[in-house]
Structures are given as structure tokens and as C-alpha cells.
């Protein structure tokens, strides 16, 4: 497939995602079309945690190696364990060498590590925050970070309230004029609507919404970002992107993996809370939203939240019809026998947690009237991958698409992972003297057309937070509206006298047969991935 394209967001063809009005450095013109990250002191709460070691520090290191991390920035790890700057740096170096996509260059690491510090404190200890404030002030003075602060909460949500309270008590949530204090929080953003609202209230007591960045790494993926470009930079697609031409949409996120040591967390969360409420609803929003008035964070998020609000509300009866839940039994994947969910390590042997969900959803607005959105997510499925498939209506039943020789519909598939790309299925005549028509696939692969490695999602998102660009982060109302939708399902499953069944499926299959029936009732079937 050939694409005429100015590779990436070339300055020539695309406007910057946000304007950079915080400071005006004339030497920055033309060097990058994205908003410029500003030097800051980044404080990571949970400095001893797995995410910090495997993702956050390697992401920050890669930004430094690529010259994208503002040179004056400092990174301060905040955790309970007793460590010195030096011992933390040594530990980080070892894992960064393993986890960094670009390996580890000694000179770059040396320069980067000289700006990495460790701050030991209990999360609830006021003295620890007072000392942190003094340390940040000293770093501001020494490095020219001018009071800019980025707090990254890589800790259990149960710690959030204490941390927010202490940050506010130490005055760390406020900073001097012209500077900023922002906070990045990791999902889960609550476990239901009321806990999400409570969490948001806790955040709001310390940080205004404009400085709150709820990170969903799915949105940092290249293909997720490409959904808007595909829709709104190509004039041929948008006229077709509605109920007149689209028959239905399928959004799939499939994993071959099981819970992989996350049993205690997953057993409480389940697939609906873990994946649907966050990642998949975000993909649905990007697919279904109206064109935003600009590419500013709020313009984009305003349109996304309208989609969630337009989701047809479910009730206990419709949950039974439109939502299928399943749990994996033993089976085989890749030629190996794998255990049932209930026999996984640290999982309740009587667990009723769903590892698979399939939903039929409706976006009740003008554009999508009568177009179902089918969503499925699951663990231990036949094949791993995430994609959005737009299935168009069939050609009229005359000429070629007749009852005797029915043709399949056109389908546009946006592959989120792996093998990121876009494919379009068309009908074509098979060469020969007879008229035979077969589907062919026009296929665009990121990996083929753009050889360069994409930055990791965390790199992009951390840089966005440093730049003040919240486009790829979830806003409070988006999160709460998504919980409002999901809560009805959770309640029907767990608080109803006659809950819908938890269907079993064999590991390595494509989920329970009831999920297939969800579509076959409508005369449709899941796409073969």
C-alpha cells in the first residue's frame, strides 16, 4: 500500500497539538512542532516500585538520551525504604539497562543519573514532605527549574489521600507565579463511581483539574493517537463515518496471557473494571466522537465525554442481554497446557471474577443511530491483539452482491497492537474469463512504512505532562461517566438476586459461545483476528 505522507507530524502539514504559550523561547521555533516540555523537578512516589524501575525511569532516561528531556530537570524518588541517592541510582542503572528500548549509554546515564535523587519518607509523615519542599527549593535554585513540579503517583490508590493531604499541608501543590505543579495519577481511577468521585475529590482538594493528569498508557500508543489523524486528516473517511454507511463497530482487546502474578489485584478488579472502563471506553470515544473544534486538550476531551454520555444506559435486564462475562478454564496456548483461572496463584479458588467481557453498546446520537458497538476483552484467548474494526454496510443486492453470490462487507481495521497499522478489505475480481469476486486486503503496517522505533507510551505521556498537554489524559468527567456506565453492569452481576451467568471458556479459545451468540442474534459475527 502506498501512502503519500509527510512522515510524522511534520511542521509543514500539521498544526502543533497545543500552543506553547507558557514561555517564548525563539530558539525553539522549528525544532519541534510539539509543545515544549519545561524543566521541572519530577517527584515519583513509589520509587521502589516495579513501574518506576521498569517503565518510568527507562522512559525518562530515553527522553534524556534522545535530547527531549529538559536538561535542567531533576528526578526525585520518594519511598519508604532506606536508600541513598547513590544506591538508588545503582539499582536504577541495572534495570534501565535491561528495560530501556535504546539500551544504556554510560555517558548519557552519567549525566542523567547526576540529576536523580532519592528522598526517604513515610507517605504520611509531614516532616518528610517539609524536607522534600526544602530539597525541591534547593534544586530549583541550583538548576533553574523555577518551581515547576511534577508529582507522579506510582503507588496504590489507598495511599493517594495521605499523599495529597501531605503535599497540600507542605504547600507543595502550589508554586510560585509563572511556574506549575502537576500531578500524574495511575489507574485504577477508583473501583466504581463513588470511589472514583471520592478519589477525584481528594485530588481536587490539592490540585485543580487542569493540573491533574490521569494516565492511561493505551492513549500513548502510536495507533491510538493515529485514530484522530485517520479520521480527521483524510477527507474520504469522515463522510462515511456514520450510521448511513457503517453497519457496526467491533473493538477487541485480546490477551493470551493469564493474570501473571497479578492475582490479588485482578481478582478484585476483573476485566470490566481493569480494561473496559478505561482503555476500551477511551478507544470507543476516539472512534465515535465528533470532530473537536481544535486539538486543544479540552476540545478533544469535551467531544470524548459526549460519547460516554450518549451511551445507551443499561438496566439489570439489558445487562443480561447485552453483556456476557466469562472466566477462563484450563486449556492450551501455544502448545502448552495452561491452568484455569481459579487455580492460578493467589486467586480465590471460588472466584467469580470475570476474565472475559463482551458487550453490545449503542451510542445514542445522530451520527451513530442504530449502529451497535461490540466490545470484547479477555485473557487467555486464542491470540493477542487490540484493534478497532469498522464494518461498513453491504453493497446493494444487485449486480454483484446477489443472494446466490453474497459478498462480504468492506471493513476498515485499525490495529492498536501488535503490528500496528490499518487495513481495508475490498472486493475485487479474480483474474480470469469468469466473474469471480474475492475480498482483498489493502494493508498498511507502521513497522514496514516507518522503520523508526516509536517511543514508549510512557515517554510520550510524561513529556506531554511536562509540556502541559493533557490531550492524551483522561479528564474527571470522562472517568466518572465511564464508571456510571460500568457500575450498572457490576451491580447487575454482584447485587442482583438473579445475576447473569458467569460463562466458562477454554483457555486458548475465542471466549464463551455466549459471546458469539451476542452477535449472531443480530445476524453478525466477531471478526477473525
Amino acid at each position: 500500500m502506498k501512502l503519500r505522507c509527510t512522515r510524522g507530524f511534520a511542521v509543514s502539514s500539521c498544526a502543533p497539538l497545543v500552543s506553547n504559550d507558557i514561555h517564548h523561547n525563539p530558539l525553539r521555533e522549528g525544532l519541534s512542532n510539539r509543545a515544549m516540555p519545561q524543566p521541572c523537578n519530577a517527584v515519583i512516589f513509589g520509587a521502589s516500585g516495579d513501574l518506576t524501575f521498569r517503565k518510568l525511569i527507562p522512559a525518562l532516561y530515553n527522553l534524556a538520551a534522545d535530547g527531549d528531556l529538559p536538561g535542567a530537570s531533576n528526578i526525585i524518588g520518594f519511598a519508604r525504604r532506606e536508600k541513598t541517592d547513590e544506591t538508588w541510582r545503582e539499582e536504577l542503572k541495572e534495570t534501565t539497562a535491561k528495560c530501556s528500548r535504546s539500551g544504556l549509554n554510560e555517558d548519557v546515564w552519567g549525566s542523567f543519573a547526576s540529576r536523580v535523587y532519592y528522598h526517604r519518607s513515610e507517605f504520611g509523615d509531614p516532616a518528610g514532605y517539609k524536607a522534600l519542599a526544602e530539597r525541591l527549593d534547593a534544586l530549583d535554585a541550583a538548576s533553574g527549574t523555577r518551581g515547576n513540579r511534577l508529582f507522579y503517583l506510582s503507588v496504590s490508590p489507598t495511599e493517594y489521600e495521605g499523599i495529597f493531604n501531605q503535599l497540600a499541608a507542605a504547600g507543595l501543590n502550589k508554586t510560585r507565579s509563572g511556574a506549575w505543579a502537576r500531578v500524574i495519577v495511575e489507574k485504577p481511577f477508583g473501583t466504581d463511581l463513588s470511589t472514583a468521585q471520592e478519589l477525584n475529590r481528594q485530588i481536587a482538594r490539592a490540585f485543580p483539574e487542569r493540573d491533574t493528569y490521569r494516565i492511561d498508557h493505551y492513549l500513548g500508543k502510536e495507533t491510538a493517537q493515529n485514530i484522530m489523524v485517520l479520521r480527521f486528516a483524510n477527507s474520504i473517511l469522515e463522510p462515511l463515518w456514520n450510521h448511513r454507511y457503517v453497519d457496526h463497530v467491533q473493538i477487541t482487546s485480546a490477551e493470551t496471557l493469564g493474570v501473571e502474578g497479578r492475582g490479588p489485584y485482578y481478582d478484585k478488579a476483573g476485566a470490566l473494571r481493569d480494561m473496559v472502563q478505561s482503555h476500551l471506553v477511551q478507544l470507543l470515544c476516539l472512534t465515535a466522537m465528533e470532530p473537536p473544534t481544535s486539538l486543544s486538550a479540552d476540545a478533544v476531551r469535551d467531544e470524548k465525554v459526549k460519547v460516554v454520555r450518549a451511551l445507551r444506559p443499561l438496566n439489570p435486564d439489558s445487562v443480561g442481554l447485552d453483556v456476557i462475562r466469562g472466566q477462563y478454564a484450563a486449556g492450551s496456548i501455544g502448545g502448552k497446557i495452561v491452568p484455569a483461572y481459579r487455580t492460578e496463584e493467589r486467586v480465590n479458588p471460588q472466584s467469580k471474577t470475570e476474565t472475559f467481557v463482551a458487550l453490545r453498546m449503542h451510542v445514542d446520537n445522530w451520527r451513530w443511530h442504530g449502529v451497535p458497538f461490540y466490545m470484547r476483552v479477555g485473557k487467555r484467548l486464542a491470540k493477542g491483539g487490540a484493534e478497532i474494526a469498522i464494518q461498513f454496510k453491504e453493497a446493494p443486492g444487485v449486480l454483484f452482491n446477489t443472494a446466490e453470490t453474497p459478498l462480504g462487507p468492506n471493513q476498515l481495521v485499525i490495529r492498536i497492537q501488535p503490528d500496528e497499522g490499518v487495513s481495508l478489505r475490498l472486493q475485487c475480481k479474480v483474474p480470469g474469463s469468469t466473474l469471480r469476486i474475492e475480498p482483498v486486503k489493502m494493508d498498511f503496517h507502521y513497522g514496514t512504512s516507518f522503520g523508526k522505533q516509536s517511543p514508549e507510551a510512557y515517554e510520550r505521556l510524561i513529556l506531554d505532562a511536562m509540556s502541559g498537554d493533557a490531550t492524551l489524559f483522561a479528564r474527571r468527567d470522562e472517568v466518572e461517566e465511564a464508571w456510571r456506565y460500568v457500575d450498572v453492569i457490576e451491580n447487575a452481576w454482584h447485587n442482583s438476586a438473579t445475576p447473569p451467568p458467569l460463562c466458562e471458556y477454554a483457555s486458548g479459545s475465542w471466549g464463551p459461545k455466549e459471546a458469539d451468540e451476542l452477535l449472531s442474534r443480530d445476524g453478525r459475527e466477531w471478526r477473525r483476528m
Binding site: K2, L3, R4, C5, T6, R7, G8, A10, V11, S12, H23, H24, N25, P26, L27, R28, E29, G30, L31, N33, M36, Q38, P39, A65, D66, G67, P70, G71, A72, N105, D107, V108, G110, S111, R115, A142, S143, G144, T145, R146, G178, H445, G447, T448, S449, F450, G451, K452
Partner: protein, 343 residues
């Protein structure tokens, strides 16, 4: 006849399209990718060899149809052609991803033969990037220039860059072709490093109060140094006095700026020193170092230091950076306008 077997399978010019189809249908383990046409014009057999090797460097990063054209002006017309696939394996077990290369060796009345030869080999509906690798502008027909979307050249190779850039502009005429000067691309990382030092409010004030600039460049790299100075002048609104030389004064909003260009052995740009009453910023690069050391020292003696990736010295890396950067190069045009007289 040129014996350039390293260019692939020799084919008749009229059969290039057909032979390319055969090339792809013969092997199902390969897949083909094309996002733009990438033509290289060079001279002589040695040029063909060097530039064919150069192309090898870009296969993994850029999907293009390569059209390598060697020219040898003379009295007798002849054209030889070769086709080849350039492949890489993105990961074990995957298909090889390949770009195709058409090579043409043109003798005789090049100016007359070249337009049709080039146009007929371009993949349709894709932009044309032309890498200019010879001193042969008189051999280029105006028709060819009209098709070029991006022209990559290296003013560091030119003996009279100012006159040659003017001549190039005249030949291009259209104002549509994006000029991509590798002497400018060669300072990309350095500009990023310097720009970063002025991201803070305090340092921006110093930027506008600059009193002197000193740039040390390697012999043969003056155009990069001049463009770097032109960049500072254009972005900071300085105007130059005089028409050349290595020591000059520019006028900025806060007074005069003394500018020195110093030639010394070392990297393309081995030192940039920017001085203002508030602070001094220096970017230094030792010979063959992969990193630039950037430091600031304010009037109270406080210093900050960090390292940045340096611009590569390799032609392949610089062309690769240029192909990746894309864009209209408006800042380059401003920098060039601000310092053209110094080239």
C-alpha cells in the same frame, strides 16, 4: 560500458517495470514498502558505487523507491539500467521488508535524456526527494526541477556557497521545492541543546541581552557555522553589518553583538559560546565525541551542566536525520537570509 554489477540485475531501460514485477513475484518472503521516491544524482562510476552504498543505510528507516542516477556528459548517448531490492528483516520470523532500487547510468546529452528517464521511473503519486551529489547543475533540465518536492544538498561541499545557492534558487524558480541543506542539518542536535538552555524565564532574559557569540568550526565546515550564526541572528532579530569576514558586529534590540567565527581542527562545530552580562552558555564537543557538553555559568558563578546527543559526522546519519525531520525548513530560510552575505 560501465561494469557496475554491484547495482543488481542489468535490465533494458524499457523493461524496468516488467523486471521489477518479476523481482517481487519471485519471492513470497518479502514485502515491499514505498512512501516516497528518493532520487540521487551523482557523477561517474565511483559516484554510483559510493551512493549505492549510502542508500543501504536508509533501508531500515525509510520506505522509498530509490532511483540512483549516474551521469557522464559526453558526445555519445547511452543508458544502462539495473534493478535491485534492498531488504531488511524487522524481526525474526517476519517477512523481509524491501525497497526497490533502479539504477541508471546516463552518458552523452544528459540534459536531454534525464527528464524522461527520471519521470518514467518514479512511483506514481508519491513525492520526489532528490539528493544532489554532484557539481552538475548545468546538466539538469528545468523540467526535472519542477518535479522535485525536496532537494537535499550539502553547501559544505560547495566552493562558492553564496553564488551557488543563488544559482540554485534561480534554477528551481518555483518556490515550492523545499531546500534541505545538510550543512544546516548537521547542526540540528546542537541547536536543540542550545535552545534548551533558554527554556527558563531567567535564561530567556539573558538570551535577549547577548553581547558576544563565538563559534569554532572545522576547516571545510564554515557554512554550518555561518548558518548557526544566521539562526541566532534571525531568531533574535539581529541585523548584520558588512558582507563577510570572520569577525563582525550585529545589532540587536539591546545593543551590539560581537560575533566571531573561528576555524580550528576538530568537529564540524566544536564550540559555541554565547555571552551576556547575566550568563555564559557554552556548548563544547571534543573531537570524535558522541555527546555535546552544554554548560551555563551565571554572573554569581553558579554553573549547570549536562550532556546532549551530538550531531553525527557521518553523511548517512545526516541524510537520515534530514529524511526523518521533514517539514518546510522555514527557520533555515530565515537563517540563510540573515547570513547569506557571510557564506
Amino acid at each position: 560500458m560501465a561494469t557496475l554489477e554491484f547495482l543488481g540485475t542489468p535490465v533494458e531501460v524499457s523493461a524496468i517495470g516488467r523486471e521489477l514485477k518479476k523481482l517481487w513475484s519471485a519471492d513470497q518472503t518479502r514485502t515491499r514498502a514505498t512512501l516516497f521516491n528518493f532520487a540521487i544524482v551523482c557523477s561517474g562510476e565511483e559516484g554510483m558505487r559510493a551512493n549505492s552504498e549510502l542508500l543501504e543505510n536508509f533501508v531500515g528507516n525509510h520506505a522509498f523507491r530509490a532511483v540512483l542516477i549516474g551521469i557522464e556528459p559526453g558526445s555519445e548517448d547511452s543508458v544502462q539500467a539495473w534493478i535491485n531490492a534492498r531488504c531488511y528483516l524487522p524481526k525474526a520470523g517476519a517477512k523481509h521488508i524491501c525497497s526497490e532500487q533502479v539504477s541508471l547510468y546516463v552518458r552523452g546529452n544528459v540534459r536531454r535524456l534525464l527528464p524522461n528517464l527520471l519521470f518514467s521511473q518514479l512511483d506514481s503519486d508519491l513525492p520526489l526527494t532528490l539528493l544532489w551529489r554532484c557539481d552538475c547543475s548545468e546538466q539538469m533540465d528545468a523540467e526535472v526541477w519542477r518535479w522535485v518536492d525536496r532537494l537535499i544538498f550539502d553547501s559544505a561541499d560547495w566552493t562558492h556557497p553564496r553564488q551557488q545557492i543563488q544559482a540554485l534558487r534561480q534554477q528551481l524558480g518555483n518556490g515550492r521545492t523545499v531546500l534541505c541543506d545538510l550543512a544546516w542539518t548537521r547542526t540540528l542536535r546542537l541547536r536543540q541543546g542550545l535552545a534548551q538552555m533558554f527554556d527558563t524565564t531567567e535564561n530567556i532574559a539573558a538570551l535577549h541581552e547577548m553581547t558576544s557569540v563565538r563559534i569554532c568550526h572545522a576547516p571545510g565546515a564554515r557554512s554550518s557555522a555561518v548558518l548557526l550564526l544566521g539562526w541566532l541572528a534571525a531568531q533574535l532579530g539581529w541585523s548584520a553589518h558588512g558582507h563577510g569576514g570572520n569577525h563582525l558586529r550585529m545589532d540587536g534590540a539591546h545593543g551590539g553583538v560581537i560575533c566571531d567565527l573561528v576555524e580550528e581542527k576538530g568537529e564540524v562545530i566544536s564550540l559555541v559560546e554565547l555571552k551576556s552580562p547575566r550568563m555564559t552558555v557554552t556548548a563544547t564537543r571534543s573531537e570524535a565525541a558522541a555527546l555535546v557538553h552544554v554548560a551555563t555559568q551565571d554572573s554569581d558563578g553558579r554553573t549547570t551542566e549536562f550532556v546532549m546527543p551530538a550531531d553525527s559526522a557521518s553523511l548517512a546519519d545526516i541524510v537520515d536525520a534530514e529524511l526523518t525531520t521533514s517539514g518546510l525548513h522555514r527557520v533555515y530560510s530565515k537563517a540563510l537570509a540573515a547570513c547569506e552575505a557571510l557564506l
